[in-house]
Amino acid sequence: MLKIWSIKKDNAQAEKKKPKVSAAQIRVQKDLTELELPSTMEMSFPDESDLLNFNLSIEPDEGFYKGGVFRFTFNINNNYPHEPPKVRGIQKIYHPNIDLDGNVCLNILREDWKPVLNLNSVIVGLQYLFLEPNAEDPLHKDAAEDLRTNRKSFEYNVKQSMRGRDVKGNYYDNVMAKN
């Protein structure tokens, strides 16, 4: 006869159906509610009942990108944290590690992602990109070359681009904070 594995009942009122909540959902709840957002960052939810899709804006308070507000979308799927969140910039900006389509070159978003990492690690990584852009492994080659060869010129071009002006024939989005 079949062996019966009796297990502790979850709830005396078993007939009441327990809505299903996925492991990814709970993990996102944990990640979000333990975030320590610095004052330079803000999150927003287009649909507050959906914690898997949100926006993040970064307003660096030092470095080349001070004065700008940089916006990213985060999309998390139900395979989180087996798969990393998908992060994309929504503005066209002049940055060695972010291309004109908003792709971000950050190792933990792709090749170095591990389930033990969390949203905080990703946000810290993003913030670091604005403080210390990496010119040695470029995604936006011109910007990186600029930074490598002449920091002054790079700084100037960043400022120009942030105001929505043209840099080397490319127009960028105005990302200046409105205050």
Partner: protein
């Protein structure tokens, strides 16, 4: 699950013929030295006559599983698969014929098995596993998964583990998987053994390359292919998502990658490599599927008949160098988000506000919570400590009565930095 003694015995089934079950009956009619104590001789004393077994997937593994189950004496088999038969399935998935191309896999497989094995009822469902609810899944005594997607297995595992917890009775899951010459078969007894979620970190990570490499310094043909489908496709097709099953999409990626490889003087782009990189799959081998499916069904047979102990709980197989298996007990993760011991019943004063409830939680010595965040199991926010925007929007709830936000018997999911994962509170309002 109680035995229904009126069920027809295997030997007297009108559709049976002399000796039909001679082989299986040797094992079922006689006790062996390794049998479980609960073993009782005779087919009618096993679960086979009335066992409802669910097979998830009717692909390479699923076809083999269905055939094996039917031959093993299972009578009531159900199968779910959302795909239709494609030409490329015909060489491995032996229940399908060229004339079946375009028809649902589940339906064709069920028909084939029914026609072949007298007295077996196979009930197909052509659709997604997510279409079905707990009432559907709880009718089964055994679930066998022959899937190739991590996401679908996580869903299935969580559903059956939760359901088992609710029913107070475990529905065993047998999970099979193959990748080229490698495969695994495992038995999951919800809350007793480790579950699929417990072993998530054992999975191989899909190969990905740094985005700056694929954008600027490609060296391998794979880099060029990733460039084409990660960077170029969204640029050219904007909102159209790449469908990895659409040969025209793959063809586009292949041609774009070929052109890029030409520019960088990189050799080795082929259509099949493109397919492999884009779909991130290692091609299935028919013999590995046969081995793993048979190992899974052997476990189902042992569980349903107690004629021998079942696998506890994991068998790995590799076939590229001789024959190699490694059988071991995979350890349960205490803080597993799916099967962990993280559910507690609490009695709560129905007049408490959310704030009072949180204070009570923080003082509860066995919980050790500092800054708990609370949501209901159906994804409604009660109070979240962070990020600020969610804290602000849930702050008004602090003054509300808990009983205005949840119903008696609801589950609250609590997260807190002091908890390894989460705590599920089943709340009785008193």
């Amino acid at each position: 699950m109680a035995a229904d003694n009126s069920t027809t015995a295997m030997q007297t089934d009108s559709r049976d013929w002399a000796d039909r079950w001679r082989h299986i009956n040797k094992i079922l009619d006689r006790r062996g030295p390794f049998c479980d104590n609960s073993f009782r001789e005779g087919y009618e004393n096993t679960l086979l006559p009335q066992c409802k077994v669910l097979v998830i997937g009717a692909g390479g593994l699923g076809c083999e599983i269905l055939k094996n189950l039917a031959l093993s004496g299972f009578k009531d088999i159900h199968v779910i698969d959302m795909d239709t038969i494609d030409v490329s399935n015909l060489n491995r998935q032996f229940l399908f014929r060229p004339s079946d191309v375009g028809r649902p896999k589940a339906i064709v497989a069920a028909e084939f098995v029914k026609n072949r094995v007298a007295g077996v009822v196979v009930t197909p469902y052509h659709g997604k596993i997510q279409d079905k609810d707990d009432d559907y899944y709880k009718q089964f005594q055994i679930v066998i998964c022959g899937l190739d997607s991590v996401e679908a297995r996580r869903w299935m595992n969580a559903t059956i583990v939760n359901l088992s917890q609710e029913l107070g009775e475990a529905i065993p899951i047998i999970d099979g998987g193959t990748e080229g010459f490698k495969g695994q078969a495992r038995v999951i007894i919800p809350t007793v053994t480790s579950c699929y979620e417990c072993s998530l970190d054992m999975l191989n990570k899909p190969t990905t390359f740094p985005i700056c490499t694929i954008a600027n310094t490609p060296r391998l043909p794979e880099h060029c292919i990733e460039w084409a489908y990660v960077l170029e496709w969204p640029k050219v097709f904007k909102n159209e998502k790449l469908d990895t099953d659409d040969p025209k999409h793959i063809q586009w990626v292949f041609e774009a990658a070929l052109e890029r490889a030409r520019q960088f003087k990189i050799a080795g782009i082929t259509y099949s490599l493109t397919q492999g990189v884009v779909k991130n799959i290692i091609p299935a081998i028919a013999s590995t599927n046969a081995i793993i499916a048979a190992a899974c069904c052997n476990e189902a047979f042992k569980i349903a008949t107690t004629s021998a102990p079942y696998l506890d709980n994991y068998m790995m197989y590799t076939g590229n160098e001789g024959v190699y298996t490694y059988t071991f007990q995979h350890q349960k993760k205490p803080d597993c988000p799916v099967c962990g011991e993280n559910s507690v019943n609490v009695d709560v004063n129905k007049n408490w506000t959310v704030e009072e409830f949180i204070e009570w939680l923080k003082e509860k010595p066995d919980a050790q919570l500092k800054k708990p965040s609370l949501m209901t199991a159906d994804n409604k926010k009660i109070y979240l400590q962070a990020p600020p925007i969610l804290e602000r929007s849930t702050r008004p709830n602090l003054e509300k009565k808990l009983s205005s936000l949840i119903e008696d018997g609801d589950t609250i999911i609590v997260t807190d930095s002091t908890l390894p994962f989460s705590l599920q509170l089943v709340v009785s309002l008193i």
